[in-house]
């Protein structure tokens, strides 16, 4: 387009002048856009009406899981809290009443406004109590709704993972397990 910009002293070949005069570069560009118009293949996905297939390892909303008998998997070990780079998780651990060798999380909070969905907490969990669901539509009007407690996280896990694991000690005779009440040992004196 700018035919007048020639700072170099070398003479342009005639074909270059011809290209400038006939707007050759412009026509090449316009041919490209017209080709796209004629071979109209939109890559748009009409999002709320049609949704793309998520990959298998998609890292969406976090959730807490249960065993198939309905007990929580979480043993309150705080490893997820230690692993979290954004300090999303806060665990208040405690003993199971009446079973002094067994621990659980009394309270479990996640501040999802800070979560960056790295999945380090899921990797850190020794009992696979944490999992990432494929939910991603978590837009809310009040960001306090993204401060989730244990009940909410368990509910997410319940609706995202309907098939649950057996308790560890029942899975296989050779599986290693811990944090299980040993009923045959004498109780700790309180």
């Amino acid at each position: 387009m700018n035919a007048a910009v020639t700072t170099d002293t070398k003479r342009k070949p005639f074909s270059e002048w011809l290209k400038t005069l006939t707007f050759y570069e412009l026509l090449v560009g316009m041919k490209a856009t017209l080709t796209h118009l004629l071979n109209y293949k939109p890559i748009t996905l009409q999002y709320p009406h049609e949704k793309r297939l998520l990959p298998d390892n998609y890292r969406g909303m976090l959730s807490l899981l249960r065993y198939d008998d309905g007990t929580e998997k979480c043993v309150g070990c705080d490893l997820c809290e230690a692993a979290c780079p954004s300090r999303v998780i806060r665990v208040v651990s405690g003993e199971v009443p009446g079973e002094p060798t067994k621990r659980y999380s009394k309270e479990y909070y996640m501040d999802m406004t800070r979560c960056l969905f790295c999945g380090l907490c899921v990797d850190a969990c020794p009992v696979d109590a944490l999992a990432m669901t494929r939910e991603f539509e978590w837009a809310v009007y009040d960001k306090r709704q993204l401060h989730l407690n244990k009940q909410q996280l368990l509910a997410i896990g319940d609706r995202a993972f309907p098939v649950r694991e057996k308790r560890l000690e029942l899975q296989h005779p050779n599986v290693a397990f811990f944090n299980v009440a040993f009923k045959h040992l004498p109780q700790k004196e309180n």
Binding site: M1, N2, A3, V5, M30, T33, L37, P42, Q46
Partner: protein, 355 residues
């Protein structure tokens, strides 16, 4: 009685033309987004109505019910005046555009030309004059907003419109030399009888250079991509109408599209034979349906205008914005000499080979 009747007929004609223009503006706002989307492998608006066809209505309703904000530091009078000053000249130019054959019909005992509101003998001059006034709307809108982005947009627009209006004026001189008239109806009639008589390729001197200069300059004059410096959204937010909202913004918006239609109509009438079909006469006329031949003519005119409007979208989808100094250099150092040389050559050709 006679004057009242004539007024009523004229007003009806004006209302019809305004209706068609506003309808075309509505269609254009949708068509632009759709064509741009298709060229960029997108879909354009799809939500309102089937395939988004009701989007212009939704946009219009939104703009109509939006709050009308006047900035605290703005000059209220000029801020209010500017959108009107931009819209009215854009609309008023359609008064001399011939949309169909120049025939007269007998209506209530009066001679009425149905396809042109007013066939004045300085038609093209009239359009150029009012196009210049339209620049005032942009400049005043930019200045009165009391905002740096608006002011910069207005200044750019002033420089750009003045530079390129010159080229538009010089580019059409060749056509006027060949046709010997300033009336758009006479210019169009001079191109009757097939596409080889259209001024863009007509002997004795084809106006192809003038045509190219006119098209480029008209794109610049309507502030469209790649000459959209007055409203460069990546540099100036929205340029001269940054501070405008609601209906005032809509006025600027409609003015831009009306200007596009106007320059397309002028280009079609001056260079591409206006309402004339690219073959002698009309098919309906050859079939003996002379009373219906005007339909064919109007369709040809609309087809030419829509081709130019499509060209505007096409350029917008293809080209990046020019830098400001490139814009000025291109206007003054490239377009202006070509237009002047075209006038000289056309004058020589018209002198030795009078039509």
């Amino acid at each position: 009685m006679e004057i009242g009747l004539r007024l009523a007929v004229s007003l009806a004609q004006i209302a019809a033309v305004m209706g068609v223009v506003m309808l075309t503006v509505m269609v254009l706002t949708l068509a632009e987004r759709k064509v741009l989307g298709w060229m960029q492998d997108r879909m354009g608006p799809m939500e309102v109505g089937p395939y988004g066809v009701l989007q212009p209505i939704a946009d219009g309703l939104k703009l109509f019910f939006k709050e009308d904000i006047i900035p605290a530091g703005a000059n209220r009078f000029l801020f209010t005046l500017a959108p009107i000053l931009a819209l009215v000249p854009a609309m008023i130019g359609f008064a001399v555009i011939p949309f169909g054959p120049s025939m007269t019909i007998e209506l209530f005992g009066m001679q009425v030309k149905p396809f042109v509101i007013s066939d004045i003998n300085i038609g093209i001059l009239y359009i150029l004059a009012f196009a210049s006034i339209g620049a005032y709307g942009i400049i005043l809108g930019g200045w009165s907003s009391n905002s740096k982005y608006s002011l910069l947009g207005g200044l750019r627009s002033a420089a750009q419109v003045i530079s390129y209006e010159l080229n538009v004026g010089l580019a059409i001189v060749g056509v006027i030399l060949l046709s010997g008239s300033l009336s758009l109806v006479k210019i169009t009639e001079a191109q009757a009888g097939g596409f080889w008589n259209w001024f863009v390729i007509a002997m004795p001197f084809p106006q192809i250079f003038a045509f190219v200069v006119y098209v480029i300059s008209s794109v610049a004059e309507t502030n469209r991509v790649p000459f959209d410096l007055p409203e460069a959204e990546s540099e100036l937010v929205a340029g001269f109408f940054t501070e405008y909202s609601g209906m005032r913004f809509a006025f600027f918006f409609i003015a831009e599209y009306a200007n596009m239609i106007l320059v397309s109509c002028v280009a079609a009438a001056l260079f591409l034979g206006g309402w004339n079909a690219p073959y002698p006469g009309t098919i309906l006329g050859h079939l003996g349906l002379d009373a219906l031949a005007w339909i064919e003519n109007v369709v040809w005119f609309a087809a030419k205008v829509y081709f130019f409007l499509f060209l505007f979208f096409w350029l917008r989808a293809t080209l990046p914005r020019l830098r400001y100094d490139q814009l000025m250099r291109f206007g003054w150092k490239v377009m202006l000499p070509i237009a002047l040389g075209n006038i000289v050559l056309t004058a020589i050709a018209a002198y030795f080979f009078p039509r």
